[in-house]
Structure formats: C-alpha cells, structure tokens
C-alpha cells in the first residue's frame, strides 16, 4: 500500500495536461470493465435466478432459493471438507516444507542456485501435465508407484480408491506448490539484513534458537502472505482435481468448489446454482483472508507457546 499516495514524483509539468490520461487508461479499463467487473456483478445477480442451459436459457427469479439449496447440498459439504483438508495440507506440507527447505538453502553457499532452480520448476508446468504424470504414477498395472512396491516385494495398491483418492489429488498439488512458497520465503529470508545476524551472533544466539527468535519473526509478513495465497489457492483448485478425478470421481467424494461448479454449470446446466457456488467461494475467500490478517496481526499470538 505504500505506493498508494503518489505525491512526490507525479506532479511535474509534463503531466499537468490531463487529456492523454484517457488514451492511456481507457483501453485497459474498458476491457476489464466489460470482461472482469461486469461478469462479476452479473454472476452475483444470476445467483438469485433459476437459469437452465445456455443460449436459449430460461430465467426465473427465485430469490435466495439457490443459497438455501447450497446449505442442504451434500456435495457442497464434501467440497468444504475437501477444501479444508487442502488448506491444512497447504499450511503443514506446502508452506511448512517450503520454510524448512528455504531455511536450509539460505544456510548454505554451494549449490543454492541449483536447488532454487530445481525446486521451483514444477510451478511452471501446467497442472494438467502434472496431473497426467501422476496418473501414470498411480496406475494399478505398471504405474511407477506400484512398480516400486513390486521391487520392494510388496503387493500393488489401488491408489485411487475411495479412501485414498483425495490424498492422491493433494500429493501433486503439494509437490507443485512447495517450490512456489519456497521461492517466496527464500526471497524474504534474503532481504533480512546481515547485521541483525551479526548482533545475534555477538549475543550468542545461534542455530535453531536464532531461527526461532530472529529469522521467523522477521519473515512473518511473508509467511502471512503465503497463508493468504494458500487459502485463496485452495478455494480455486480445479485443474489438478479434474485431471486426476473428473466429476469428483469416485462418486463425487473428491469434489472441490471449482470442479463442482464446472459440473453444475456445463453438464447439469443449472447456471443459477453454479453462480451461487461462485459467490460462496468469493465470500469464503474474503472472509478467510481477513481472518488471517486480523488473527495474525497481533504479535502476542505469534510469540505464544501454541504456535
């Protein structure tokens, strides 16, 4: 937010004449207005209608019926469960592992650049390609995982069974995003000024103690940003889940908001209901982001034992 108030540079003679402003701003604002903000508001309006099908669609105003239906929908409940589980995984495994790896790479000289390059690369590959790759690993006959088990003299496992499917969707997502948070946290660590470590060294604070009392509090804002990104990211899950388990397979138990919305809108063609799901996702995202910001603002919380 620090670049909100732009008083110091903006006012030179060149920019006194405001007419060119229109030419600079209008194209971008026009495109965004029509294809970003208008659809967003339209989607909100749609959620109060019953709409069936595209093109020759029929619209009936039904008030908050769609939202009432949301509350009773078992698949929505399942999506909430799956998303919560994914948020938990994000915090523990993605951000947690990323933090450990970042601290390690920050502590070494040789090879730091190599590790940074390797850890980050999964993020540039599409979720589709990674999902497909993991489908090859999960295959019962000849998949990588079962071939490893076979080598170890163990029986093959049905990886995408009812109980395991959700974890098998989570695994590639975790693998992909560890690198993402790793780079963000590492950048945060790099920006910690060296002399703070020097003072710590003089005071005899070293090793894990230094990480806990000095490094972590200094990158706390970065971790908070990661947390918000992780939560909003979990709410947006679509590609990976769709590639590994389309239509929430098996039996709709692996549905996330994105996959369920896609199914209700494009296959069941209940557009109004799909809009209501989208509104729910935006509201959840806003609420949880604010909760994170509020909850973690107080330093006391961070220093308490239960963290």
């Amino acid at each position: 937010m620090y670049f909100l108030a732009g008083s110091e540079t903006g006012i030179i003679m060149l920019y006194k004449d405001k007419r060119p402003l229109i030419i600079f701003l209008a194209p971008a604002l026009l495109v965004m207005g029509i294809f970003l903000y208008y659809p967003f508001l339209q989607n909100f309006a749609d959620s109060f209608y019953e709409i069936n099908g595209f093109g020759s669609e029929t619209r009936t105003y039904i008030g908050i019926e769609n939202y009432k239906q949301l509350l009773q929908d078992k698949i929505i409940l399942q999506a909430i469960k799956n998303t919560s589980l994914m948020i938990l995984f994000t915090i523990v495994f993605e951000i947690g592992v990323a933090l450990v790896l970042a601290l390690m790479v920050d502590g070494i000289r040789t090879g730091a650049k190599f590790f940074r390059t390797v850890f980050f690369f999964p993020i540039v590959i599409s979720a589709t390609a990674i999902g497909l790759m993991f489908n090859l690993f999960y295959a019962y006959n000849g998949g990588l995982f079962n071939q490893i088990l076979e080598k170890l003299g163990l029986n093959p496992v049905l990886w995408l069974s009812d109980e395991k499917a959700i974890y098998m969707i989570a695994l590639p997502i975790v693998w992909q995003y560890v690198g993402f948070y790793f780079v963000i946290i590492l950048t945060g660590l790099n920006s910690v000024p060296e002399d703070i470590y020097e003072y710590a060294y003089i005071d005899g604070v070293q090793g894990l103690k230094r990480i806990w009392y000095i490094t972590l509090p200094l990158v706390w804002d970065v971790l908070k940003a990661c947390l918000i990104l992780g939560i909003t990211g979990s709410l947006k899950i679509f590609d990976m889940a769709w590639v590994i388990a389309p239509y929430g397979a098996p039996k709709g138990i692996t549905h996330f908001f994105g996959t369920y919305l896609y199914q209700t809108t494009f296959f069941s063609q209940t557009v109004g209901y799909g809009s209501a799901i989208a509104v729910l996702v935006v509201i959840l995202g806003l609420l949880m982001s604010f909760a994170v910001m509020k909850l973690i603002r107080s330093k006391a919380f961070f220093y308490s034992e239960d963290m």
Partner: protein
C-alpha cells in the same frame, strides 16, 4: 578496520551452518527433494522412448533401444482419427497465449504509466478496485463471460479466449508495472519535456526502454498462466480442432489413459518447451513471482 570486518563477516557466514553433521543433514534433505523432482520427469521422458509392453515390465532402467513409435503416434494418429493433433494444439496455444501477452503488456503498460505518473481524482479508489479483482476466482466469472462470448459468436474462436484472458491478467500486470515505473527518477522525463517532447514520445522513448525487464517479467508470467490455463480455455473452446495444448492433453488422458508410451510422449511434448523457456528465463520469472506475491 576493513580486514577485521571482513574476517568477522567470514566467521558469521561460516557459522551460518556450523558443524559438519548438520551440513551433511541439510545437503541430504535438499538433494533428496531435488532428486525426487528430477527423477519423476526423467521417468516420464525415459519411458516415452520405450514400447508400451516394456514399460509395464521394467520402467526403471535407462532405455537401451529407444523407439520413436510413441512420438509418431502422438504427432500422427491423433490427427487423422480423432480430429485433433498436437501440432495444431501448439499452434492454437501460441496464437492464444501470444496474443494475450501482447494485449496485456500493451494495455497494462499504458494504464500503469498513467497510474504511476498522473495524479487524478479517484486514483486511490481505482487502485483498490484493481487490487481487489485479484481475489476473483476465474470461475466466478465464467458463466457471464461465456454468455457474452456466445452472444458475440466467438465460442470455439481463439479471440473468445484472448479477450477474457487479457481482462483477467490486466490487474496483476498493471500493479507490477506501476510499481516499476514509480521507482524511476523523473529527471529525464522533465529534461525531455524541456526539450519539447510530448507525453507519448516520453512514454515510448524513455519509459519503455528502461522498463523492458519489467515488461519481460509480466509477459512471461502472462504467457505461463495463459498456456497452462485449463478452465477458461476448456469452457470456451469446445471443439477439438480449437483445443490448445492443455485442453488437448486433458482429452488425450481421458481417451488414451492406458497407453503408457503415448501418455509419456504426450506429457514430454507439452512440458519440454516450458522447461526450456524456464531454464532460460528463470531470473525474470522469479522476480515477477515474488514482486506479485508480496505486493498483491
């Protein structure tokens, strides 16, 4: 004085990780994680040169008699029998993502310049609206967007994807570029004004050349996002001929999921160009990512 400071610093950096044992531990963990990542890719590429039956028996050993059969199938059979081809999908992807990158950098660059340099009423409100839109998930927009695209008659047309992708990526690019332009000193612009330059020649002759790296970052990021996007592309492009790479890959996996050789070669074909781009441009990619994450 200088030498003692240097010596002290040296000691600090040495104490970064002090004893040999923890050093060994750290490197083992790092190498293990790196190895598992690399091995997964290696497994796919290695097996893409193997016959289907061979993969089922032994997929670990380094391939000794490589076959190009899987690649022939991937590039050939799909196109004749299924009305889809990987080359066609590449072309679609390049058209869509390339155009999106151009639109986003041009429109975003102009808007960012105005936001950074002009002062006007509602500027702060506009900034908040821009930042707020980063929270919209793409699928909260898809139904109205689809309706509009259908209304204009652009379903199955690349333009029908390019416009919404541009809209979705603009906020991010404006915020990033604005940050870069704001940090430039204004002296040169003032001097140019004294020499009689107008705003437009200042933008094209002074601002653009200096902010090239920032534009590169935004461009690469937009490209990756667009190339990898499945949701928007799958929703609007519903004919196989118009599929870009990610949608085609999804289709291949649902149709030929049991043909391991073909799957491995298809995955390799999709991932390889991205990996090469990444290795060449990783500096820009990381810079953009962290700037976006912390400011967004």
């Amino acid at each position: 004085m200088d030498s003692t400071a240097a010596a002290f610093e040296k000691q600090i950096s040495k104490t970064k990780v002090k004893n040999v044992l923890s050093r060994v531990l750290i490197y083992s963990v790092l190498i293990l994680w790196a190895f598992s990542s690399i091995y997964m890719l290696f497994w796919v590429v290695n097996n893409s040169f193997r016959e289907k039956t061979e993969i089922l028996n032994d997929s670990f050993s380094f391939v000794t008699y490589p076959t190009d059969e899987n690649y022939r199938t991937a590039f050939g059979r799909l196109s004749r029998e299924e009305n889809m081809s990987i080359l066609r999908a590449y072309l679609n992807s390049v058209i869509i993502s390339g155009s999106t990158v151009i639109c986003v950098t041009v429109l975003g660059g102009l808007a960012a310049y105005a936001m950074a340099r002009y002062s006007f009423k509602l500027k702060n409100v506009l900034y908040l609206i821009l930042a707020g839109s980063l929270l919209f998930p793409a699928y909260s927009l898809i139904v109205p967007i689809f309706r509009m695209i259908q209304g204009i008659g652009l379903v199955n047309n690349p333009i029908g994807v390019i416009i919404p992708q541009t809209a979705v990526n603009l906020a991010f690019s404006i915020i990033i570029l604005m940050g870069f332009i704001k940090n430039l000193p204004t002296e040169i612009e003032e001097a140019a004004y004294m020499e009689g330059c107008g705003v437009f020649s200042v933008f094209f002759r002074i601002i653009l050349p200096v902010t090239k790296p920032a534009f590169a970052t935004v461009g690469i990021f937009t490209f990756l996002w667009s190339y990898n996007d499945l949701f928007l592309q799958m929703s609007i492009l519903r004919k196989r001929v118009s599929y870009p790479v990610s949608a085609l890959l999804n289709e291949i996996s649902s149709q030929f999921g049991t043909d391991f050789g073909l799957m491995c070669s298809a995955t390799t074909i999709v991932v390889l160009p991205i990996l090469i781009i990444y290795l060449f441009l990783q500096k820009n990619i990381m810079k953009g990512l962290t700037a976006g994450a912390i400011k967004g």
